[in-house]
Symmetry: C2
C-alpha cells in the first residue's frame, strides 16, 4: 500500500492509500470507540461499507456552506456529549473539505482536543486539503475567520469514492492539482499535463496523480505549517478566482475559479514582464482544457474589482498577489488594486474568455 | 519588578508584577492595536486607568456563568470582526477567571490564533489561573467541555485591583493558594500558614504569596502542560468540593468548596490509613480558619453522592480521587464511589462540619 508520512509540528501522521476500506473500518472499530461524521451523499451511496450498530454515534451531515458555522459546531458537540463521548474516543470523519472543516475543528476544541481519523471522499480532499491540518469555520457573515490547526491521526484514501463524484467536484480537485504542479516545477507540470486526462478513469494513474499532488502539499506545509510565509503560495489563483466566483454568484465551480484565477495572475505577470509569453501560453493551454466547457463572461469590470477589493488578502488598496515568474517560480508580490490592474484583467478577458 | 518566566510548550511568556499599570497600558497601546475585553466591575471601578478613545474596540463583559458559552464567543468574535480586527492586533483581557476563559478561547480560534495579553484582577486569576494556558467554555448544559491551550503573550499582575475585590472572591483565591502549598510541601505550607492572614492587607506579603503560589503552578504546568498526568493533582479538593457546591446550590464560594473538599479528601486518606491523624489535623486547623465563618450543613448524603457521581472524573462507579499521604505527597487513586465512601464522608461532616 502506498503511504506518505506527514511530519507535522503537532505530530507525525500517515496518509494511507487503502484498498480494502471495509476491513480497515472493522479493524479501527475494534480498537476504538468511534463517533462517525459522514457526508450525506457518501452515506447514501456507501451505507453498506459501514456496519452502523457498532459505532458510538453517527451524524449524517449535509455539506452546505450555510452549515459550516459555529452554531452547527456547538450543536454537533452537544450531540456527541449526549452520546457520552469521552476523551479517549475518536471522531471518524468521512467526506469532502467542508465535512473535514467541521470534524477537524470539533476534534480540536472538544475536551481541548481529541483524536480524529479522516477519510476524504472528494478529489480535492484526497489530493489537497486532507494534508495541512487547517480548518476554517464561518461566524455570521464572515467566512473562514475562525479555525484551528489540528491534523487527523490517520488519513485513508479510498479511490472508489471518486466513481460517484459529480463532475464539478472533480474539477475542484483538478484546479488544486494543477496549482500544485505549477508551484512545484517543470517535471511535475509535464507529468500532470500528460496524465491528467486519465484522472478518475485509470486507477493507477489516478493514484499516482493524488500521490504526487500530496507530496507537493507535504513539502510546503512541512516547511510552513502555520502559514507564516511560503504556505501563502497555495493561495495562487485564489484571490482572482474568488472574485470571479463572487461575480458569477458561484455559478462556476471553485476549481474553475482557481484555474482562471491562475491564468489571470499569469497574464498580469506577463504584463509586469516577469513571465514570458511562451510560459504563459504553455500553462494557458493546459488550463483551457478544463475551463473551455464553462460559460464565463465578464462585462462589469468595476463590479469584479469590487469583489477583489473585498478579499481578505487586500489591505487598503493593495493585495499580496501571488504571481508567476515561470513554472515552479511562484512569488508573492504586493500589487496595487488600481486602474492599471483593472485594465490588465479587462485585456485578459477580452483576449481569452469573453 | 518581580517577574516569572513560564516555559510553555507553546511559547515562553512572562508574568510581570507591574507597579505602574497606567504607564504600561500607554506603552502597550503605542506598540499594538488593542481590542479590550474587560470585566464589568473592573471597568466601573478603574475606568480612569484606561484611555478609551485610543483602543481598536472595547467590550465590557458581565462575568456570569450563563455567558461562558460558545454562542457568547461567536457574538464576541462577530463584534471584533465588525471592529475590523486583524491578525496582527492583540486582545487585552482584563478580569478574573471567567473573562480569561472567554478571552483565551476567542484568541485561540480567531484567525486560527492571535496574541492576547492578560491582566488578572481577582486573587484566583493572579495566584493560579493566569498561568497554565487552559480555557474552558460551556456548551448547552455541559460545563467546560470545550476549550483550548492558548497562553497569553504577557501577564501583568497589578495588586491594587485586590483592594476592591469582594471577600468571597478573595476566598476563591485562598482555596487555590492553600491547595498549591499542600501539593508542594512543608516549606510552602509553613510559609502560607504563617503569612496568609496578611493577604490583601500587607502589599509585600500579598505579592510574595502570589509569587510563591505561581512558582508552584509553574512547576506543575511546565512538567505537564496538557494535563496528561501530574497536572491532574491540581484537581485536589475539587471533586468533593464541586459536589458540595452543587448540593448547596452554589451558596458557598468555590474556594470554600475546594477547602472543605481537600479536608474531605484528607479525611478519606486517614480512613484509608495513608495519612496520619497528626497531618490531617495540621491541615484541618488551617482550613477551618477560612471555612468556619460559612454555614455549611450536609444532611441528605444520598443527594450529595448523586452530585459526586455526576462529576466528569467519575467513570462508572469509580472516581480518580486525589488523596493525600501528607503535605507535599498528593496522589491520584482510583476509588469506588460506594457505601463505604459515603460513610467516610458522613463521618467527616458529623465530626467536623454539621
Amino acid at each position: 500500500m502506498k503511504q506518505i508520512s506527514i511530519q507535522s509540528q503537532i505530530f507525525e501522521y500517515p496518509v494511507i492509500f487503502e484498498k480494502d476500506l471495509s476491513a480497515r473500518l472493522k479493524e479501527l472499530n475494534k480498537k476504538n470507540k468511534l463517533h462517525i461524521l459522514i457526508d450525506k451523499s457518501v452515506w447514501i451511496f456507501y451505507k453498506e461499507l459501514f456496519d452502523i450498530n457498532k459505532y458510538a454515534s453517527l451524524k449524517v451531515f449535509d455539506p452546505v456552506e450555510d452549515k459550516k458555522n459555529i452554531s452547527e459546531i456547538a450543536s454537533y458537540i452537544e450531540f456527541l456529549l449526549n452520546h457520552k463521548i469521552h476523551k479517549d474516543h475518536k471522531l471518524l470523519v468521512i467526506g469532502g473539505g467542508l465535512v473535514q472543516d467541521i470534524g477537524s475543528f470539533t476534534a480540536h476544541i472538544l475536551f481541548r482536543g481529541i483524536d480524529w481519523i479522516f477519510i476524504p471522499t472528494t478529489l480535492l480532499a484526497m489530493a489537497d486539503s486532507c494534508v495541512g491540518s487547517k480548518s476554517g469555520i464561518n461566524v455570521g457573515k464572515y467566512k473562514n475567520q475562525i479555525g484551528s490547526f489540528h491534523p487527523p491521526v490517520k488519513i485513508f484514501i479510498y479511490l472508489p469514492f471518486l466513481d460517484t463524484l459529480p463532475q464539478a467536484e472533480m474539477i475542484n480537485g483538478v484546479g488544486e492539482i494543477i496549482k500544485h504542479a505549477l508551484i512545484k516545477g517543470s517535471e511535475a507540470f509535464n507529468f500532470f499535463n500528460k496524465n491528467i486526462d486519465h484522472l478518475g478513469k485509470d486507477k493507477k494513474i489516478t493514484e499516482e496523480i493524488i500521490y504526487k499532488s500530496l507530496l507537493i502539499k507535504k513539502e510546503i506545509v512541512e516547511e510552513d505549517e502555520f502559514e507564516k510565509n511560503i504556505r501563502k503560495v497555495l493561495n495562487y489563483g485564489h484571490t482572482f478566482g474568488h472574485a470571479l466566483e463572487g461575480y458569477t454568484r458561484h455559478k462556476i465551480p471553485h476549481g474553475i475559479g482557481v484555474l482562471i484565477g491562475m491564468d489571470i495572475a499569469n497574464y498580469i505577470s506577463v504584463k509586469k514582464e516577469i513571465l514570458s509569453l511562451v510560459d504563459f501560453t504553455k500553462i494557458h493551454d493546459l488550463i483551457i482544457r478544463y475551463t473551455k466547457s464553462y460559460e464565463v463572461e465578464l462585462k462589469d469590470y468595476d463590479n469584479y474589482m469590487d469583489f477583489l477589493l473585498h478579499d481578505k488578502k487586500v489591505i487598503g488598496n493593495e493585495v499580496y498577489a501571488i504571481l508567476s515568474k515561470g513554472i515552479g517560480k511562484i512569488e508573492i508580490m504586493k500589487t496595487k488594486v488600481d486602474f492599471q490592474l483593472k485594465n490588465y484583467i479587462k485585456e485578459y478577458f477580452i483576449k481569452f474568455v469573453n
